[in-house]
Amino acid sequence: MFIGKIVKSDSHINYVCQIYGPREVEVEPAPEDYAFGRFVRIAVRARQGDDPEAELHRVLGMSTEPRTYAVGVIYDTILLNPSFGSLGPRLSNETQVELFSPDYIAERAVLIYVMVLGMMQERTTPEGQTEVFSIMHGVPLLSLELGSEIETMDDEQVRAFHFFSDPDRPDEPPYLHMGYLPHIIAQRNSLLPMVALCIIDQLERLFPQNLSLLSIVKRNFAWRLKVETTG
């Protein structure tokens, strides 16, 4: 589900997105769709070829070309209201404005901050199945564009993003990866460690077989965040 689009970036990995407001999309995103710690993905625009057939496939959604996504996590939400504090004289109240000048746009928005954690590439197989074939954790090489749409990821996609074989050792069995943790910790933001805990909680639900492995990281985080900061 698409929940908004990029309106600004703070750095190569920090993006500010505006959530679609009323009447902008058919199904307005609910707060749970842009909850704290939610995994989202943003498509990276691919170079357009001049092959008309490929263009046709793309338009029809039948392209087998790989699609690249930046995968991120929502780590902050801001409710923006430009009219807050302007208690100046007004001609009519809100209800009247809505009734009499419907083209008056209320400049209110929900902004979310997304930190990019890695990339994933997927393609559609000739059988029509979607297949994730390459995953990278860490800072992506490509940057995103303003206006790119943000899409929430379902459990299956989150699982695929975390469970894979090392790219340089494809023959070995896949295992759980959280290669973005070091760069989450390296960021200076008080909410990011909390988002890391939140991610671990989600992964515990998705990977019950890796509970003890996750508990090591979780306990470590929890100790530092909760005990050391309070004590």
């Binding site: 943790l181 090591i216 470590n220």
Partner: protein, 581 residues
């Protein structure tokens, strides 16, 4: 702009087959140490392992002037300090390996450990002098460090090669696979400048000693060896003549080849001729004599020696001499002097001690030519002999040996019992009995003399002791080759460290960690101190501890019960008949 890298020579790939194991970091804690850093993926850089770097001496160029001589400066790893370890929190779950946690957070490299290794520089080997020459400078930072290969080590750790005349292969280097780097002692050196084997009980002293004896009896050594064996542990050496390793064809028609001989003297066969005892021995054997008794005895000894002029005398002769001396003394002193009680007491003591004695005999004694023969190993079993008598046996034997060797070397004798025209090696088990520290016993003096001057006359001594703390420090320090096995007792460790300057502190720190059959060999017989794994004996070992539970269990086996029942039955074993008699 010229980059710095232009001035740096390219890193050499090394010769084929040689892979560097690390890179030098810098100087170490002391002047002769350096440190290097290594991942040590293959876990080969153990403590005590040998590594080297190459040193190009600018003033020593090769023969044609083209290539500088690359010297391999050898060093021994003495410490291993981890530089990079997993955080403690990664070790929280016993069933999850820290590598798994590291892989999960994106660190998936296989090599994750990094060590700083401290190396004590030994120097480069100079084959001419057979010693290591210190370069007096630590290696430059960034030098490649190589692991010394087996072949190189076999050539430089020991002077002798396996099977050479004058070699004794006692085992192989501990840090390498068994047999890869043989440790070969130079027999000439340890036989002339003495050997000490020191270890706690059960560490394998007598096993190592037997291995050395085996080597000495090999056809390439054909040594003349005497073992003083207070516990009867060396009896199994009698298998030696039957083994093919200890014989050799002569190669000439009609000439008999070599075959090692072993002669074992049981305690009842070890006799000391009374006339070989001197006043010191007497004083030791008859303790707490009064001044008068001592005076009387010394005069009587002088008299009996004068009367017999070198021929053996008996206890009866000695008592006769005492009577005569006492009588003449009474005449000299005139009236009022009555020594009859002294004489009586002395005579009584001599009779008690020497007449029908187990060890002392009027005529018989150990013939030097019988017990010392090249190619023969003689074992004196003293396991039933009283400790004082043991000391006297060793003292008189060493004294006679020393005299015989001295007279032979100086050309004073050319035949007869005290003509010994070859060097000998004497192995003293339980050495602290014969030269205890803090107190002087009858054998101390002669043992010290042999150790100090035996080299000139070809008498080598090997001292085995489990309590170096109880051994006279002079005796220990005279042994120039030391084999030190596991020692746990702190006092013993200190006395070893104090007496033996040849072994570095770093090696001695390993003493409590050595296992059974592992030995630090240092001193004259090897080029540098080494930790060695003792080889398998060719003959069966005789010094094992008793398996008490096994013996107890056998006591209750059905056969043993049955035979006991027969023994204890009233009429069993014809006891009934003997009762009737």
């Amino acid at each position: 702009m010229v980059s710095d890298s232009a001035n740096v020579p390219p890193v050499s790939r090394g010769r084929t087959g040689r892979k560097p194991v690390g890179i030098t970091k810098g100087p170490g804690e002391s002047a002769h140490e350096y440190t290097f850093v290594s991942r040590d993926d293959e876990q080969v850089l153990k403590n005590g392992e040998y590594v080297y770097y190459e040193l190009n001496e600018p003033d020593e160029w090769g023969q044609n002037g083209a290539q500088p001589v690359a010297r391999r400066v050898l060093g021994r790893i003495i410490k291993r300090v981890p530089l990079q370890l997993y955080p403690d929190t990664f070790l929280a779950e016993p069933e999850v390996s820290p590598a798994q946690v590291a892989a999960m957070v994106g660190y998936d490299a296989r090599a994750n450990e990094l060590f700083e290794l401290h190396v004590a520089i030994m120097g480069y080997y100079d084959p001419e002098s057979g010693s290591f020459i210190n370069p007096w400078i630590p290696p430059q930072s960034g030098k490649q460090i190589f692991l010394a290969d087996d072949e190189m080590l076999s050539q430089i750790l020991c002077r002798k090669r396996v099977g050479q005349p004058g070699s004794a292969t006692i085992g192989s280097l501990l840090t390498r696979t068994p047999g890869a780097v043989p440790i070969v002692l130079s027999v000439k050196d340890f036989v002339s400048t003495h050997l000490a084997i020191i270890a706690s009980t059960g560490a394998g002293k007598s096993y190592l000693a037997s291995v050395i004896i085996e080597e000495l009896m090999r056809p390439y050594n054909k040594a003349c060896v005497l073992i003083v064996d207070p516990h009867g542990e060396y009896g199994t050496l009698d298998q030696l003549p039957n083994l093919p390793d200890f014989s050799e064809e002569s190669g000439e028609e009609g000439v008999e080849g070599y075959r090692a001989q072993v002669r074992i003297y049981r305690p009842e066969q070890v006799k000391v001729r009374l006339s070989s005892l001197n006043m010191g021995d007497m004083r030791h054997l008859l303790p707490e004599m009064t001044e008068k008794q001592q005076h009387l005895l010394s005069r009587a000894l002088r008299k009996v020696n004068e009367m017999k002029r070198g021929t053996p005398w008996s206890a009866q002769d000695l008592m006769e001499a005492i009577r005569k001396v006492a009588r003449s003394k009474n005449d000299e002193d005139g009236e009022g002097a009555d020594d009859s009680s002294t004489v009586h007491a002395l005579m009584w003591r001599i009779e008690q001690r020497f007449v029908d004695s187990f060890t002392f005999d009027d005529v018989q004694h150990l013939d030097l030519r019988e017990i010392f023969k090249p190619g023969q190993c003689t074992v004196l079993q003293l396991n039933e002999v009283d400790e004082r008598d043991q000391q006297v046996i060793v003292a008189t034997l060493l004294r006679r040996l020393y005299q015989a060797r001295m007279n032979t070397e100086r050309g004073k004798v050319h035949s007869g019992e005290s003509y010994l025209p070859y060097p000998v090696f004497v192995l003293l088990e339980e050495g602290h009995h014969f030269a205890p520290s803090g107190t002087e016993v009858v054998s101390t003096q002669i043992l010290k003399q042999v150790l100090a001057e035996g080299r000139k006359f070809g008498i080598g001594v090997g001292i085995i002791s489990q309590r170096p703390g109880k051994l006279d420090a002079d005796v220990l320090s005279q042994c120039q080759t030391q084999c030190i096995m596991r020692i746990v007792n702190e006092i013993d460790q200190k006395s070893v460290a104090a007496a033996i300057e040849g072994v570095g502190r770093d090696l001695l720190d390993n003493l409590p960690a050595l296992s059974k059959g592992q030995v630090i060999v240092a001193g004259a017989a090897v080029n540098t101190p080494v930790i060695c794994r003792v080889r398998q004996r060719l003959t069966r070992h005789g010094g094992e501890s008793k398996d008490a539970p096994d013996i107890w269990r056998k006591y209750f086996s059905s056969e043993a019960r049955e035979s006991r029942r027969l023994q204890e039955a009233p009429l069993g074993n014809n006891q009934g008949f003997s009762l009737l008699k």
